[in-house]
Amino acid sequence: MAVRIQTEDFDAGAEIAALRAGNPAVGAVASFVGVVRDRNDGDAVATLTLEHYPGMTEGAIEAIVEEARSRWAIIDVTVVHRVGELKPLDQIVLVVVAGGHRGDAFAACEFIMDYLKTRAPFWKKEQTPEGARWVDARASDDDAAERWAGRKKDVA
């Protein structure tokens, strides 16, 4: 497992290649890339500044990945999350899950993103024509995370 918090951009292709390099047990790689949009809540977004809690963030994400490992048969995971000032079109977050088969890889990738959005200590502040404002947490993100609560991997 690799979890990285960084200001620099990332290369999803290189991360995918690295995660499965030399491992013939990997039959599926699922990935997700989050990107900065140019509009939010009806306003133009010029820049997005991401703050986090150094010291807690990495551990919080590692705990989410461990939870995913306990639920699905997956082989390895990479999570990269950027912080600092970003602008529309920039990449924010990358989750890559390698597994034996696609079902578990897809599910684990979505689970990790849903939990990251509600449990990892990041905060977004956006600069709009109306001024700077902190982005409010969305109930829909809580709902997305909550729906995994009762779902465990079926034992085949």
Partner: protein, 87 residues
């Protein structure tokens, strides 16, 4: 282990309180996260409005998400912040 608490504030809370953190000698009557919140709220001003009951607030004790009843002990690192918005 330090006898003091290390308090941290992030994002909107940091801006509203005008500080990113402080060291605080553990008050005798503070044994839980809820009691610590009440202690800080009693300072009045921005503390009262920012930490008011009903404001969405998350607390982590030693890097783990905490509940109002989570114990607070000397040397703990306690962070207050809004609901998270990463990803």
């Amino acid at each position: 282990m330090s006898a003091k608490l290390k308090l941290l504030f992030f994002a909107r809370l940091r801006e509203d309180l005008g500080t990113s953190g402080e060291e605080l000698a553990l008050p005798a009557d503070v044994g839980t996260v809820a009691a610590l919140r009440a202690h800080l709220l009693a300072r009045g001003g921005a503390w009262a409005t920012t930490l008011a009951q009903g404001r969405a607030l998350r607390v982590a004790v030693n890097h783990e998400m905490a509940e109002p009843a989570t114990p607070v002990r000397p040397g703990d690192e306690i962070a207050f912040f809004p609901p998270v918005t990463g990803g």
